[in-house]
């Protein structure tokens, strides 16, 4: 099994076999993650620091659990409250942290490229937990694992990604990953929330959701940030829900066995109808959360193995 990366900075750097390696390992961790009282010691003795320069509850909790279930010592640092406010630069923060000799550094930052900049300055393995509008690789991997388990495969599927594509790192990582695995990707959303030049990524772009959902195997909804709702990018919340919210009527256009995904947290009644989100026959939203822990366990395990290789 080969995973020749020091860091997990993005999907862009991964090859399809490496993605499969990671997903296979994650699959094997689902059981461990579910088991009561069982704890692995794979990361025992290693220190994992979660550095979140931007608010996050679920991703941080998921990384924390993943580390603990593998036996790592996990520390959380709330960076908004700390030295950044005192004027310390990102590089200095990185160097300070590096001197504490962590083994795994999980970083979220509001600026695109910031995690990769930080990774250049530290000796440990860095996992990107989301940088600006750039990438969120573990989210794309957990989405992929969820799709693979629900659909039995991760290729030749018609996948509609709907909503605020422009501001979404989740969308970017998913477009890269699902594209590498040879799926048909449709992007659905108002043109004001569609990034320029996106057609060149090998995707189909729809501004009519009904057309975009037609015969889709997977419907992936994105969160619409509150600050984008008021007239800036879309006229109003209610018009958005009318045209781009996932309801039963629009979902009926997708394949009968299409699954519904959402990276959370959801705005019920804005991008998704609550009843669909809760429909256990269609919605895999809770599975996504569960797969998140397994995928992060796998990612940290693989990177930790490479740490050992360097030391040897």
């Amino acid at each position: 099994m080969s995973f020749p990366h020091r860091h997990l900075l993005g999907i862009e750097q991964l090859t399809p076999p490496q993605i499969v390696t990671l997903l296979d390992l994650a699959d094997s961790y689902v059981g461990l993650s579910r088991g009561k009282g069982e704890h692995s010691t794979i990361l025992a003795g290693l220190t994992q620091i979660n550095m979140f320069f931007e608010n996050s509850t679920r991703t941080q909790a998921s990384f924390e659990l993943a580390g603990k279930r593998l036996g790592a010592d996990v520390m959380n640092m709330a960076m908004q409250a700390s030295s950044i406010k005192k004027g310390e630069t990102l590089i200095d923060t990185a160097l300070t942290l590096n001197a504490m000799h962590p083994d795994l550094l999980v970083v979220r930052h509001p600026h695109s490229g910031a995690v990769s900049l930080l990774a250049q300055k530290v000796n440990c393995a860095v996992l990107n937990a989301g940088d600006g509008r750039h990438e969120h690789p573990t989210q794309a991997l957990l989405d992929a694992l969820t799709i693979r388990r629900a659909k039995g495969r991760l290729h030749r599927l018609v996948i509609a990604i709907c909503g605020d594509i422009a501001h979404s790192r989740v969308a970017r990582s998913n477009i890269l990953l699902l594209g590498k695995m040879e799926n048909r990707i449709r992007l659905v959303g108002p043109p004001t929330l569609m990034p320029a030049g996106i057609e060149e990524f090998g995707v189909e772009v729809y501004d009519d959701m009904r057309e975009g959902l037609k015969d889709a195997d997977v419907v992936m909804m994105l969160r619409l940030q509150k600050e984008r709702m008021d007239g800036g990018f879309i006229p109003s919340e209610r018009e958005y829900f009318h045209r781009y919210g996932l309801d039963a009527e629009k979902l009926a256009l997708a394949k009968p066995d299409a699954i519904v995904m959402h990276p959370g947290p959801m705005n019920r009644g804005v991008e998704i109808d609550g009843t669909i989100a809760d429909d256990i026959n269609r919605s895999v939203i809770q599975d996504q959360v569960e797969m998140g822990v397994a995928v992060r366990m796998a990612a940290m395990d693989l990177l930790a193995r490479n740490l050992g290789a360097q030391a040897a």
């Binding site: 862009e12 990102l90 695109s112 900049l117 509008r133 750039h134 970017r172 990034p195 030049g197 990524f201």
Partner: protein, 431 residues
């Protein structure tokens, strides 16, 4: 009378037309700091003074670089007049036209006199200061354009900050017109480009960076040209970098407006993909453009539609650049790389040397009403001797600038300055 003979030179005179000036072998005689004679046949005349044997290398009018930022006052740690002067001399730049976007802003005669004094004391090359168009570059009140001209300001600009209030802008241009002052604008729609750090398109979307449509430049230029039409002012666009802006520029010139345009050499030799993995040395204002735009801009320089090529020298220290891309400071140093970078266009077969020096020396001189920029009799002996064929790998630690933020670091370049003279005085010479 001090006489210098530049013997056996290949003369590059942009004034002599695209063919004639391109490569005639000859000798150039300088008397009292001015070009006295050019001999294109026979032996070099004997001289009781200095003889510079050019050994067949290229001798051209020194570069006149409009838009150089020196960190005085306020940011001397990034670039002083001394370091900028040394960098200019090493780059064959014989005249630096300096920007007023300093701390504090050069917006009154006293500050202008201070920088003029500093420049005279510290730099071996000529320095011509520009002043702000509005006080504090705030876009609200015009500066004392008359007093500033008396103090030596050669042009008026708020640099990369657009005067958004069109009433303020049109009044400033109306007033400038009455004095014959040159106004330099930064064509950019300020609302559309707010917060943007790259040009919108595939690259920006891939990297997830805030982006501005290339159309914002055209919108800015359209507005500025309309104000020029309204006021009759003399106007120069600091940088035109997108193909979409060219028709408006062409129309303005055809209509007889007193409009010219420039571009930085970076926008002629680099494109947005050079930013690659968030390399902040490639963060410029305006941002680097698409390859299609770059190619269109080279053509526009070739045709003369874009008049002037500059370095837009913007020194930034490591601390300002070692930040996430969105937070990092914008700009690149360019005094020492202006000529070798421009020579890429010559080596690539895109532009002749005469075309290059028209944009680097002749047109800037003409636009500012200077006697130089050419190799004619009576012109000041501001000269650069260079070999366009010396290859080297750029090492930023060899730069004379205090700031080392060059996008050409570790890149292969071709062409080196062998010597620089200002008013007949040697200010730089390689051993």
């Amino acid at each position: 009378m001090i006489r210098i003979v530049f013997a056996n030179a290949t003369l590059i005179d942009p004034e002599a037309g695209p063919d004639a000036g391109n490569g005639a072998r000859g000798h150039l005689i300088v008397s009292d700091g001015k070009i006295d004679a050019i001999l294109t046949s026979g032996e070099a005349p004997a001289s009781d003074g200095t003889v510079v044997d050019c050994k067949g290398k290229m001798l051209a009018p020194g570069l006149i670089d409009i838009g150089v930022k020196v960190g005085e006052p306020g940011e001397r740690h990034k670039e002083s007049y001394k370091s900028a002067g040394l960098a200019a001399a090493a780059g064959g730049v014989t005249t630096m036209v300096t920007r007023p976007d300093t701390e504090p802003v050069i917006d009154n005669p006293e500050t202008l006199e201070f920088v003029t004094r500093r420049a005279q004391a510290e730099t071996p090359v000529r320095v011509l200061p520009m002043a702000a168009l509005t006080k504090g570059r705030q876009g609200r009140e015009m500066t004392e354009i008359g007093f500033l001209m008396d103090a030596g300001a050669v042009a008026f600009t708020d640099c990369a900050r657009v005067v958004t209030d069109t009433k303020v802008f049109s009044r400033a241009l109306t007033y400038a017109r009455s004095l014959g002052a040159l106004v330099i604008g930064h064509p950019q729609d300020p609302a559309l480009s707010a917060g943007a750090v790259v040009t919108s398109g595939k690259f920006a979307s891939l990297r997830g960076l805030p982006a501005v449509s290339p159309m914002a430049e055209r919108m800015g230029l359209d507005r500025d040209i309309a104000v020029v039409e309204m006021t009759g002012a003399r106007y120069h666009a600091d940088q035109i970098t997108t193909a979409r802006a060219l028709p408006a520029l062409e129309r303005a010139k055809a209509n007889g407006f007193d409009v010219t345009a420039g571009i930085s050499v970076h926008h002629l030799t680099l494109n947005e993909f050079d930013i690659a993995d968030y390399r902040t040395f490639f963060k410029l204002t305006p941002p680097l453009r698409s390859e299609d735009d770059r190619v269109a801009m080279i053509e526009a320089v070739g045709s003369g539609l874009i008049d002037i090529v500059c370095s837009m020298h913007s020194p930034q220290d490591e601390e300002s650049k070692r930040l996430p891309f969105e937070e990092a400071a914008s700009g690149a140093v360019g005094l020492e790389t202006l000529l070798p970078a421009a020579l890429r266009l010559y080596h690539g077969g895109h532009l002749t040397l005469a075309q290059l020096f028209r944009a680097l020396s002749l047109k800037p001189a003409q636009r500012l009403g200077l006697p130089g920029g050419r190799l004619g009799k009576g012109a000041p002996a501001d000269l650069v001797l260079f070999d366009p064929n010396i290859p080297f790998v750029m090492d930023r630690y060899t730069l004379k600038s205090k700031s080392l933020n060059t996008p050409f670091d570790e890149q292969r370049m071709e062409g080196r300055v062998l010597g620089t003279w200002v008013g007949g005085k040697e200010v730089y010479r390689t051993s």
